[in-house]
Symmetry: C2
Subunit: 318 residues, 2 copies
Amino acid sequence: MSRRSPSVPELVARARDRDARSVARLISLVEDASPLLREVAALLTPHTGKAHVVGITGSPGVGKSTSTSALVTALRAQGKRVGVLAVDPSSPFSGGALLGDRVRMQEHATDRDVYIRSMATRGHLGGLSWATPQALRVLDAAGCDVILVETVGVGQSEIEVAGQADTTLVLLAPGMGDGIQAAKAGILEVGDLFVINKADRDGADQTRRELRSMLALAPAGQGAWRQPIVKTVAVKGDGIDEVAARIEVHREWMERSGELTVRRRRRVRDEIETIAVTAVRARFSHLSGDERLDGLAEQVLAGDTDPFRAADTLIEAI
Amino acid sequence: MSRRSPSVPELVARARDRDARSVARLISLVEDASPLLREVAALLTPHTGKAHVVGITGSPGVGKSTSTSALVTALRAQGKRVGVLAVDPSSPFSGGALLGDRVRMQEHATDRDVYIRSMATRGHLGGLSWATPQALRVLDAAGCDVILVETVGVGQSEIEVAGQADTTLVLLAPGMGDGIQAAKAGILEVGDLFVINKADRDGADQTRRELRSMLALAPAGQGAWRQPIVKTVAVKGDGIDEVAARIEVHREWMERSGELTVRRRRRVRDEIETIAVTAVRARFSHLSGDERLDGLAEQVLAGDTDPFRAADTLIEAI
């Protein structure tokens, strides 16, 4: 018997019925920038907007994976359906399987209401900012109440990912000078909630004081969100319920203040812009096979025109 | 007395007369993506194409800065006018001054026929691939016979820079396993000439053998360039004349084989494409202040459209 592979509408219908295999298949389509991507997005979009997207970031060694896993446990205890998207901007590897240190997630692997996915976006057309929102849309449409987006490392790409979340958690650990350093490098602005993990170690209070004084320097308007600092020991589960509670408080504040709409609108604007730029870039790349671009290059090399005028001609050509 | 700042045509004329201050000012305009950039490129392009662009890359610690400086000495002894462009893709700092380990360049600082410039491109519109060709054009028009483009570190950006050179030198050092590792990661393909610096240390011959056998694996057609391996001790100047001679041999081969035209055409094609994509992106960004993009985002959030269709609308709008 031949097994026909399901159509996109079928996959979307099944994913909405929480079929894990269809969710996985849709994320793969998204990740591979499949030609079916447009159809996927068109069918999914009407069913999105319900999930609360929580970004989790922090330097290597602060316990992101352990904290994410502990948070999944806490959210499951509240009866919430949870998606986990582990994004590694530097890795060329990906897949639906549990990868590397994702091993801590294995306790959730058999839970039908937890969907865990690793995603790598290196070398992809449009990169991280392209693939992540599409994958979030799949998990959102599949009925996740909360989606935890965990990024690897702290860098510009991670800050970008964090910027796509409704709520962003920044993890630190005591005695990691680099934790605070990272905080200085843009993380301070994107963090809605700071977690000092491994708080049973020396220096947790010191880290908290330093962080608090740095946060105090940032200007805060009337009714602005005051970023809480929570101490946790994720391996023991200590403090995790408080983190979950604070996430919920932040969500409520976001809705009340209108900030949720502001952020989501900005997120979708960025997404539309990225798709548009990628589409235009693809058209240029298509022209690369064209003699026209060769001709323009020859003219520049001969000194008959300059690259800016040549670019104008190229833009007019598409 | 008021001092009018010189116009772009004046700056270009003076730069062509080898006025260092005007060269510096033009590179700053390029680096800052000044609105005058188009005018700069239009006036410079007819006067370019003479300089031989030599990319110098390699892992930190192999002695890139020392080798570059020694090479400047060797080229100066041949009576050549030399430009040095030190590109740091990760640094937000730049300027005409000698920076950090550029201190070794100071012996050339008073030489009127050596132009040294550090350039950082992080965060710039279009990034490295945008700013470097423009800066090369300035140095080319200013009468440099050879331009050495030294990059910091080995990574994708460095390989990109190397790709913009007529001749690419890859520096290694004995006993640096990572040197060969880096070679594996794309550097092997871009290297036209390999230099094993610090060749008075143990393991130089071993490194040479390993490299030779790796290079032997790469397919080479009839009349193809056979990448030479030169051993140097740059701090003493040993082997540097041979490197300079090999660079010249490569240039002659490039001209004879037609490869020079092929590479330069590809380089200009890439440049035109980058400028065109950047221009289109700028138009989208301009639209960000526009209510149209907000409106499209609202429609996506409401589920009335999807981001791909919204992007189509955006593209039609420009």
